[in-house]
Amino acid sequence: MVKYDYLKARSVKEAIGWLKEYGSRAMLIAGGTDVMVGIKQGKFAPEVLISLRGIEELSYIRPEDQRLKIGALTTHRQLERSELIRERFGALADAVQNLGSVQIRNVATIGGNICNAAPSADTAPPLLIHEAEVTMEGPEGRRSMALEGFFLGPGKTALGPEEVLLEFSLPWPPDGAASAYWKHSRRQAMDLPILGVAMYLEAELKEAGPLGEAFAQGAPLEELLEALDRSEIYCKEVRLALGVAAPTPMRAKGAEAVLKGKRLSTEGLLEMGQVASEEAQPRDTVRGAAWYRREIIRVLPKRLALFCLKRITGRKG
């Protein structure tokens, strides 16, 4: 059993001070659902845990300067409940509502999920497709960077040993855009994804009638795709991110290039999936086989595009 000292920081400055003082003997802890498990599994053996839980100023969801700012200590439960996020950042809402369990979401934080940097982190693909930026603070002051460069490897991030993650900042998406996240898992709850895919789509709806009708009728997948092909919808911008498909969550930029600026079609979306499955580097693990992961990547962009379009057309009323 690992015995450690437990210090509750009252401010970011205090936490940073302790990080400096204890160096590698200390670890930061927020909700604890990764750190506590890691300690019990023998993955971590800190002498000191520095708790950020009490720093209430780091828990917020607010639109500011054409961006959405989310404090690193915001819990998944708070994100799950946010109308704003459900409306505009659908992929993130999708990711948090099925993450772990209610008990986990009540304490686990988005900052913790990202800093733990598991390839399977559910919030990572949604944040990547929304081109999130992270801000952190250390003894030298604050700095920001794109989330894309933040993941360095499984369990490794660009967060310095004396830094504390403060905030995620996402550009406010235009009206014609929506995002969605698919968590491919074996159970309906308490599961890590075998594969996670997030898509951000900004669409120009030249003629969306057929698709809109198909949505209204609750048509099944094949019919929705046919309706898409009969409609005239252009992809102004598309971003695709994959989880559990590489050592870190990744953007599938090759796949994005397939569709950007083009008219949306089943064939195009299949090709996008094909390119994405080749760009990805999934492994064989106890949790799933690489070939299967590639298959899922291949077939998902069609479904995700439809989810995004449903959200976009739904918004227009």
């Binding site: 059993m1 074996r186 159970r187 309906q188 308490m190 106890v286 299967y292």
Partner: protein, 756 residues
């Protein structure tokens, strides 16, 4: 009937709902030490040296045991296991050393100070490999990896029957390891009194058999003739996991004897997954045939069972697998053999169904294949071959009540079978049936259960029974039985169980026997008590005994209801006087069934339970994911003494069965379990519950208490084949090894496409 057939709440539900029930994890004794076990680092290795000196010196450590400083205690059905291994380890789960310390953290630290030097040996992890010439021998002294077990059943002449069959199908199925996942992990407290008598706090399902096993162990400690008392705490789930005595129990006893203090051992969840015995896997070859009109002509099954490194009940599952093989549907000619083979894998024991789910998976999938070959609808095919009341099966089972046809029809009706079957459009329906023992099972020489009833001065009734409650509701149905017979409220009946010093003998909670056997036993005792009450009341009321009734705690005469007396008053009158008396009675019920003979034939249960599960599924052909749209479970229960508790068994069993079919598997690599936690071992959550309905069919079993039969295991037996059959109906692809994961479905679909 006043109380039988009503949904009374479970008697101990109040304590459990308020957090007051004491499980083994909650129990503390003064001076208690905590035991922890060190396990092997290799699947097969010689133990070169064990150095426990550093562990012994750690302050707080009171004892360190290895295979070298304990007496020899052999346990397990094949007697091939000892509590701490000596000379050799045979599997990753083998126990190598144990410590007892003043707190669990010190015990754990002590484990890390024990130095064990191993010399690795070649290992084998596949039973078919282990049977080959030159395969590493697991127990060298046996000269072979194949156990000497007599599993062979011959009924009629299968070879002849094959020749005269119009249609024959043959296939191979495979089922793998899954485990009980009791929410309460394993544990015990062993405690000797100053004279060497052992009290063992336990979560066992076999208190009296365990008592006997421990008595044997005490002999090895020089304590032959001393007493063993087994006391069960509230049990956090059984499902068969506690039908054997386990190494950790003997270890606790040895540590308690060494230290002369109570020693508690409890398992963490990881230890529970890695070091307890799961469900028996099997490789199953099956062929079946039928005549032109669809009547079954023969069934031939051959199995290879991975026995693992030591032997527990897994090796005896063939004796139960024979039941569906010979008696599920009418099949006149049967041949069955099973080989159990040692490997360096984990070893298995009883788990709900005890081989029946494994065998039924193969049989019921094969039935669908045969129906297709014969061009007959699978539901129709089952009706043609359904068992009927009054028949004797080829294995010698005397079927008294049997509502299999009704179960099949009910399922077909509720699933809209005719409209939904055969569309092959990604949606499909499937069904499968089961037979299981429903009137006890004479797997041991005794299938008995004793009951003692005493009535107190206030008319309250105490029932001492040898049966155990493992959450299934034995406490409640026994109380309802006695309450019904004695005309008293259920609240006035207290059921005392779980203490071998106090309660009479029972063979154990297995084979879905408890309602049938323990309630019959309680009924027998209650009738005797009632006769005593009437004898007394006849004198007091001056009425003949046969004119008397008891209702609502009052004894009265049918002829003149004004002649009555309150039960409590009657009893007080009986004993507050010179030469007074108490009202007590005992009864031991052991049905007139027989053990299976050398040929494995005989009527080993007094009644048989049947059922059918039907499923509608939707398969996502791009991802291979299977969604259950509808699940119907119809069970022939004889009579539901408590319909609410019976449904609990059915829903719980079905969810366990669905997990077996679709998501659960223990993943091993070179004998080491790679998913020993709830995240990676995919037990289903509340969000995975499909729309489920349970149908109780009550044909009334004449030998059962109030017509009841057993239900504990049937709920999880036919789920996997029903789902596999539905998937075949949906997409024309048959997955023959469990669990049916999305990967297997997708792979099979792609292969089908390529072939097309």
């Amino acid at each position: 009937m006043k109380v039988v057939g009503k949904p009374f709440p479970k008697k101990d539900a109040y304590e459990k709902a308020t957090g007051r029930a004491i499980y083994i994890h909650d129990l503390k004794l003064p001076g208690m030490l905590y035991g922890k076990i060190l396990y092997s680092r290799y699947p097969h290795a010689r133990i070169v040296k064990i150095d426990t000196s550093r562990a012994e010196r750690l302050p707080g450590v009171k004892a360190v045991l290895t295979g070298y400083n304990i007496p020899e205690i052999r346990f397990g059905f094949y007697k091939d296991n000892i509590p701490l291994k000596k000379d050799k380890v045979y599997a990753m789960r083998d126990e190598v050393a144990a410590v007892a310390a003043t707190d669990p953290e010190i015990a754990e630290e002590a484990l890390s100070l024990i130095e064990v030097e191993y010399e690795e040996l070649p290992a084998v992890f596949d039973p078919e490999e282990a049977m080959k010439e030159g395969a590493p021998l697991i127990h060298e002294e046996h000269g072979t990896n194949v156990l000497k077990l007599p599993w062979k059943l011959v009924c009629g002449d299968v070879e002849e029957a094959k020749k005269s069959s119009a249609h024959v199908v043959e296939d191979r199925f495979r089922v793998t390891w899954v485990t009980h996942c009791c929410m309460g992990t394993s544990g015990c407290i062993a405690h000797f009194d100053p004279q060497g008598n052992l009290t063992f706090y336990s979560i066992t399902q076999i208190p009296y058999l365990a008592q006997r096993d421990f008595q044997e162990a005490l002999k090895a400690l020089g304590l032959g003739g001393k007493k063993v008392r087994v006391i069960q705490t509230t049990i956090g789930g059984g499902f068969g996991s506690k039908l054997d005595t386990h190494a950790y129990e003997y270890i606790a006893i040895l540590l308690a004897w060494k230290t002369r203090r109570p020693v508690k051992i409890t398992f963490t969840r990881e230890e529970e997954f890695k070091y307890t015995s799961p469900r028996q896997p099997a490789i199953i070859h099956i062929s079946q045939g039928c005549g032109r009109e669809g009547r079954l002509t023969f069934r031939e099954v051959h199995m290879i069972l991975d026995n693992g490194a030591h032997t527990s009940w897994g090796a005896t599952t063939p004796s139960v697998m024979m039941m569906p093989i010979s008696s599920l549907y009418k099949v006149p000619n049967v041949l069955y053999t099973a080989k159990c083979v040692y490997t360096n894998n984990t070893y298995c024991q009883a788990m709900r169904g005890y081989g029946n789910p494994q065998a039924t998976f193969a049989i019921e999938c094969s039935m669908d294949q045969l129906a297709e070959a014969a061009g007959i609808d699978p539901m129709e095919f089952r009706l043609i071959n359904a068992n009927e009341p009054g028949e004797t099966t080829p294995q010698g089972f005397k079927i008294s009540s049997c509502a299999l046809k009704e179960c099949i029809e009910e399922v077909g009706k509720r699933l809209n079978w005719k409209e939904k079957r055969g569309r092959r459009d990604g949606r499909g329906v499937g069904m499968a049936s089961l037979i299981h023992v429903g009137g006890g099972a004479r797997v041991y020489k005794s299938d008995g259960c004793g009951t003692i009833i005493k009535v107190d001065d206030f008319g309250k009734v105490d029932v001492f029974t040898g049966a155990s409650d493992i959450g299934q509701g034995a406490d409640t149905v026994i109380a309802q039985t006695v309450a019904e017979e004695l005309g008293v409220p259920v609240e006035d009946v207290t059921v005392i169980m779980n203490d071998t010093d106090v309660c009479p003998w029972d063979v154990g909670v297995h084979a879905s026997r408890t309602t049938f056997i323990a309630c019959n036993s309680a009924l027998g005792a209650a009738r005797r008590v009632k006769a005593e009450i009437f004898r007394l009341a006849a004198l007091v009321l001056n009425e003949p005994e046969d004119a008397l009734e008891i209702k609502d705690k009052t004894v009265y005469s049918r002829r003149d209801p004004e002649k009555k007396i309150d039960l409590g008053k009657l009893l007080r009158g009986a004993h507050y006087r010179s030469q007074g008396r108490m009202i007590m009675a005992e009864y031991f019920y052991d049905p007139d069934t027989e053990m299976l003979g050398r040929d494995f034939k005989g009527n080993f249960s007094k009644a048989y339970a049947y059922g059918t599960h039907g499923v509608e599924v939707e398969v996502d052909t791009e991802t291979g994911q299977v969604k259950i749209l509808r699940y119907v479970a119809a069970h022939d229960v004889g009579k539901a003494i408590n319909p609410m508790l019976i449904e609990g068994q059915i829903y719980g069993g079905a969810m366990m069965g669905i997990g077996y079919a679709l998501t659960e598997q223990m993943i091993f690599e070179r004998g080491e379990m790679k998913n020993p936690n709830f995240l990676d071992y995919k037990i289903l959550t509340a969000k995975d519950v499909p729309p489920m309905e349970s149908v109780l069919i009550e044909p009334w079993e004449q030998y059962g208490p109030f017509g009841a039969k057993g239900i504990g295991e049937p709920g999880c037996v036919p789920s996997a084949p029903a789902i596999a059959n539905a998937i075949y109906d949906a997409i024309g692809v048959r997955i023959k090894d469990l669990p049916i994961t999305p990967e297997k479905v997708l792979k099979a679909l792609k292969e089908k496409e390529k072939g097309a």
